[in-house]
């Protein structure tokens, strides 16, 4: 597929996501005309670019939807739930068409026809049609004819972006009586020409009853690639005004600032030129060229005055594989830099140390920069759930409102990509099982509309994502009974409420009485938990019967590099994620021996259990007399890890362990130290379990 088509597809997917967001917002605020405008513009851009790049089916279908929304914009059709429903369906159909153009599959065309028919039924019949809303609406006066002067001056790279300006001019002609003049004065000699640049620009005089919006819409998707000025030359009011004198040509030009008084004077002074123009009046181009040249000078002057407008913020689309590769390379660089620093420190050459320090600071900057490029806001993912909740609650006859907060929180692209499925599952569960039907809610003294709150926030090197619902909550007794039935716990197990609730994450657990369409397809919360853990994250659940459930996901900002604390046990090196480290304390042999109640430390009055990693990993050489305990915290729980020696902070590039180590559950990866030694990265959450 050629690059332009590819770019269109990418842009269209983005626009569709935006369209969905706008539609859902419109449903909440039906009077928001700005939102109607956004929907219209998104449709218009998809249609226009679609036609330009040969996606005729998409263009044709979208055109129909756009027409309807044009009437919404003009107030002929009200924004109703039905309209939003249909437009959402239409949006899905466009997406299907796009998917099909990528995969080469065929799409059920009759579905598109049905949608268009349904949409058209919303349009009131123009003559003798059934008035919407019962009351006879005032008949709209015939639309005004207005003459516009349009200057369309594309930037030089318009053609290279794949836009065909001639198609836009044709679209302009379709609006009414239109004369277009090409300005070719900027075409250079061949030697100086960029063959792919565009040097021509256009002036058009258009008389139409379609309104200014329709004119603007023609250029809607080249707004960033062209300077466009639209001026009203003559409107209906000018004709109705009794006192309106017939202005002379020069006066009109002067009035619109197209020429200066001086220039007019000069022109009038040389009668021959005016005469020449009059003689050639039938050739409109000559007249407009003269006027346009003056106007052009003015535009140039204005542009010079605000020179900063020329410097535009630009962005570049880059395939994500390239970014992945960049991060890989930066990762390797971090490793090499660690080697360099170590070597420099060993050799004790001050020059080399200085260089190593410079390299370290640059590498760190490069690393942060590379990682920040991959950061995406989670808001886009959140927005897709709005639709999910809307559709599912509709199907189930429930009333649910999804609120989101912290959409601007950024996470690594890989994390966001892999987060979507678990989130969908959690939200589906909330909609399906947690939130009650309106009548049940009212009976329980709750608002008939349930809420699901989706929020994201930063917490150190982690992002916390919370999914909170005000549904019926988890019933510990039901869960306990089920867990015993399934043989997950013995009947007499002594468990706290929270522990029981967390049993829903156990493999093979499902409390749904009946398998519904939404959840309970054999994919349980254990899969969700596993997905989150694969992201080196953790999941926590707090639920109160009758009040609701909060699920918290704790995710690392990135999967590629972490700041770790390098520790040593015996001959082996390990890395603990620095973000969870609270403090390091010493553990003397006598302390160890005096601790009668197992592995427990007293940290300023707090009781903190500790794990001896050398026992955990079966490291048998003699421990040093003075060991160190690294106190780690996760989800409010503190645990100490006993190590031989704490070496210090270490920027860690995470390497996956091969398949042979897939059973090493409490190791999340490995890293290569400066001297080539491998250090294992410990998954603190797993050990805490």
């Amino acid at each position: 597929m050629d690059a332009h088509k590819q770019a269109f597809i990418e842009e269209a997917y983005e626009l569709l996501a935006e369209l969905e967001r706008s539609l859902l917002e419109l449903e909440d605020n039906p009077g928001d005309m700005a939102m109607v405008g956004q929907v219209f513009r998104a449709m218009h851009t998809i249609k226009g670019s679609g036609a330009m790049f040969g996606f005729e089916d998409i263009a044709a279908f979208t055109h129909n939807v756009e027409n309807v929304f044009d009437q919404v914009r003009s107030g002929t059709i009200p924004v109703t739930r039905e309209l939003v429903n249909l437009t959402l369906t239409a949006r899905d159909h466009i997406r299907e068409l796009l998917d099909a153009s990528v995969s080469g599959k065929t799409v059920n065309e009759s579905r598109g026809v049905d949608i268009v028919l349904a949409l058209n039924r919303l349009v009131p019949l123009e003559n003798g049609g059934i008035p919407q809303g019962g009351k006879g609406e005032e008949k709209k006066p015939a639309p005004d004819m207005v003459t516009y002067r349009i200057r369309f001056k594309p930037h030089q790279d318009l053609l290279a972006h794949g836009t065909n300006p001639v198609l836009l001019l044709s679209e302009l002609r379709d609006l009414g009586d239109c004369a277009v003049t090409a300005h070719t004065e900027n075409i250079p000699v061949l030697e100086d020409m960029d063959p792919e640049g565009l040097y021509i620009f256009w002036d058009a005089v258009l008389t139409t009853d379609k309104g200014l919006n329709a004119v603007r819409d023609v250029f809607i998707f080249v707004e960033d690639d062209a300077d466009i000025t639209i001026e009203t030359i003559l409107d209906e009011d000018d004709f109705t005004s009794a006192e309106m004198p017939r202005p002379k040509l020069g006066e009109i030009l002067l009035k619109h600032g197209d020429i200066s008084g001086e220039a007019l004077h000069q022109a009038l002074g040389s009668q021959k030129r005016i005469g020449e123009i009059l003689v050639e009046e039938k050739i409109a181009s000559r007249a407009s060229v003269t006027a346009a040249l003056t106007e052009q000078n003015q535009i140039r002057k204005r542009l010079e005055q605000r020179g900063e407008s020329a410097a535009q913020i630009s962005s570049v689309r880059v395939p994500s594989e390239k970014l992945d590769h960049l991060v890989d390379l930066v990762g390797e660089l971090v490793t090499v830099q660690a080697r360099l620093s170590q070597k420099a420190a060993k050799q004790g050459d001050p020059d080399l140390v200085a260089i190593a320090e410079d390299v370290e600071s640059l590498t760190s900057g490069l690393r942060d920069n590379a990682m920040s490029i991959r950061m995406l806001q989670i808001g886009t993912t959140f927005a897709t759930f709005k639709r999910l909740v809307r559709d599912l609650s509709g199907e189930l006859g429930k009333r649910i409102e999804l609120t989101t907060a912290g959409g601007e929180t950024e996470l690594d692209k890989t994390v966001i990509d892999q987060l979507k499925d678990p989130l969908v599952h959690i939200i589906r569960n909330a909609v399906d099982h947690a939130i009650e039907k309106p009548e049940e809610r009212l009976a329980a003294g709750k608002d008939a509309t349930g809420t699901i709150q989706l929020s994201a926030e930063h917490s150190g090197a982690h992002v916390l994502i919370r999914i909170r619902d005000d549904g019926k909550g988890l019933d510990p007794q039901v869960i306990r009974k089920k867990a015993v039935e399934k043989g997950l716990i013995p009947a007499d197990a002594d468990l706290e409420e929270n522990e029981i609730q967390n049993l829903i994450f156990a493999p093979g657990f499902s409390t749904a009485a009946a398998i519904t369409d939404l959840s309970g397809r054999g994919v349980g919360m254990d899969v969700v938990k596993k997905s989150i853990e694969n992201l080196r994250g953790a999941i926590d659940l707090v639920s109160r019967k009758g009040e609701g459930t909060t699920i918290t996901l704790k995710l690392p900002l990135t999967l590629a590099i972490i700041d770790g604390l390098l520790v040593q046990i015996g001959e082996g090196f390990f890395v603990l994620p620095l973000s969870s480290v609270e403090e390091c304390v010493e553990l003397t042999e006598s302390q160890r021996k005096s601790s009668k109640n197992g592995n427990i430390l007293n940290i300023r009055g707090d009781i903190v259990p500790y794990v001896r990693l050398r026992d955990e990993y079966d490291i048998r050489n003699k421990p040093p007399a003075l060991e160190h305990v690294v106190i780690m915290e996760t989800f409010g729980k503190r645990v100490g890890f006993v190590v031989d020696r704490v070496i210090g902070g270490h920027q860690t590039v995470i390497k996956n362990l091969g398949g042979a180590f897939r059973d090493a559950k409490d190791i999340s990866g490995a890293t290569i130290l400066g001297d080539g030694t491998v250090a294992l990265i410990i998954d603190v959450n797993k050990i805490m379990e």
């Binding site: 001639v166 277009v180 090409a182 000699v189 063959p195 792919e196 050739i283």
Partner: protein, 119 residues
């Protein structure tokens, strides 16, 4: 589709453009014209076999015309069977379909009907 430079001994060179003549081959067309510009007094561009033409090529030929005029040389365009296609594009691009561009910057417009081409 293609670009071909016909150079017959003793005759002026002819640049034949066929099929899809658009921005994707604009750079190529420029190179071909630049190659012969200094060695010939006149060049003819044959658009008779063109099936699709876009604005980039129109302005490229205008630029070439300006270069030729500057060197007091001559560029001709033959539209032949492609005439209506060319005229349609000119008309919809804000040129005069039969009179060429409104600018009149060139001494003789490349696109003026009956002037320098046999379309």
């Amino acid at each position: 589709m293609g670009i071909r430079m016909n150079k017959n001994k003793g005759k002026q060179p002819v640049l034949v453009l066929e099929g899809d003549v658009d921005i994707s081959i604009a750079a190529d067309i420029k190179t071909r014209i630049m190659d012969v510009m200094n060695e010939t007094d006149s060049l003819t561009v044959d658009l008779g076999g063109v099936e699709r033409l876009d604005i980039s090529c129109v302005q490229l030929l205008c630029a070439a015309n300006r270069s030729f005029e500057k060197k007091s040389k001559r560029l001709n365009v033959i539209t032949g069977k492609g005439d209506s296609l060319c005229r349609t594009l000119l008309g919809s691009s804000g040129y005069d379909a039969h009179d060429g561009c409104p600018e009149k910057k060139c001494r003789a417009c490349l696109w003026k009907k009956g002037d320098r081409n046999d379309g």
